[in-house]
C-alpha cells in the first residue's frame, strides 16, 4: 500500500532562518512525481514544489528546495530565509495509483515563523 509519513507535527523557526521538513513514503512504482503543498489559514492548498522521481537533480524553486533520496524513499523540503508568510501547514503528497489520478497526502507539518 502507498503511504506518506510526516513525522514532525509542528515546527517553529525565526525569520531568515532555514528549516527542513521531513517526509518519507512507500510505493512500488518506479516513475512518479512527488509534491509539497502549502495550506495557509485561508485553507487554499498551493503547490510549493514538484520532483520527478526519475530525475536525480533535486528540484529548486526560489527559497524552496528538496532533498530527494529515492533509495531511502525520503523527500524533505528545505525553506531558506524563512518569512512570516511561510507560516502554514505543509503537506507532502504523491499519486497513489498507477494512473496518477489522485494524490495521497501526509498528515502535515504546521510551520510557524516568528519575528
Amino acid at each position: 500500500a502507498q503511504t506518506v509519513t510526516q513525522s514532525q507535527p509542528e515546527m517553529s523557526v525565526q525569520e531568515a532562518e532555514t528549516v527542513t521538513l521531513s517526509c518519507t513514503y512507500d510505493t512500488s512504482e518506479n516513475n512518479y512525481y512527488l509534491f509539497w503543498y502549502k495550506q495557509p489559514p485561508s485553507r487554499q492548498m498551493i503547490l510549493v514544489i514538484r520532483q520527478e522521481a526519475y530525475k536525480q537533480q533535486n528540484a529548486t524553486e526560489n527559497r524552496f528546495s528538496v532533498n530527494f533520496q529515492k533509495a531511502a524513499k525520503s523527500f524533505s523540503l528545505k525553506i531558506s530565509d524563512s518569512q512570516l508568510g511561510d507560516t502554514a501547514m505543509y503537506f507532502c503528497a504523491f499519486p497513489f495509483n498507477q494512473a496518477g489520478t489522485a494524490l495521497i497526502f501526509g498528515k502535515g507539518t504546521t510551520l510557524s515563523v516568528s519575528s
Binding site: 485553507r43 492548498m45 489522485a102 494524490l103 495521497i104
Partner: protein, 115 residues
C-alpha cells in the same frame, strides 16, 4: 474565473439533512478531484472525474456520498442524510492534463459542520 471556486464556504447542516457542495474548476481543466479533510489532517481522496466521466470513486466513504459533473465543468458533491462524522472541509481541485501527475489547483474548500 482565475481559480477554482467552491460554494458555499461554510455550511451548517442538521443531522439527517441533505447537502450539496459546488465546485467551479478552472476553465478548460480536464481533471477534477474531490478530497475530504478532517481537522488537523491531510486531505483524503474521494473521487476523480475526467471531463464528465467519473473514473474513480473508490474514496467515497458510503453510498450517502454522490458526485456528478454532467457537462464536464461544474461538479457537485452531494451528501445524503448527513451524520456528525461527515463534518470536515471538502476540497475540490482541478488540473489541466488527464493524469494526476499534473499540478492540481485547489479551491478554498467548503467547511461542513453537522450538528
Amino acid at each position: 474565473g482565475a481559480g477554482v471556486s467552491q460554494s458555499p464556504r461554510y455550511k451548517v447542516a442538521k443531522r439527517g439533512q441533505d447537502v450539496a457542495l459546488r465546485c467551479d474548476p478552472i476553465s478548460g481543466h480536464v481533471s477534477l478531484f474531490w478530497y475530504q479533510q478532517a481537522l488537523g489532517q491531510g486531505p483524503e481522496f474521494l473521487t476523480y472525474f475526467q471531463n464528465e466521466a467519473q473514473l474513480d470513486k473508490s474514496g467515497l466513504p458510503s453510498d450517502r456520498f454522490f458526485a456528478e459533473r454532467p457537462e464536464g465543468s461544474v461538479s457537485t458533491l452531494k451528501i445524503q442524510r448527513t451524520q456528525q462524522e461527515d463534518s470536515a472541509v471538502y476540497l475540490c481541485a482541478s488540473s489541466l492534463r488527464r493524469t494526476g501527475n499534473a499540478e492540481a489547483f485547489f479551491g478554498q474548500g467548503t467547511r461542513l459542520t453537522v450538528v
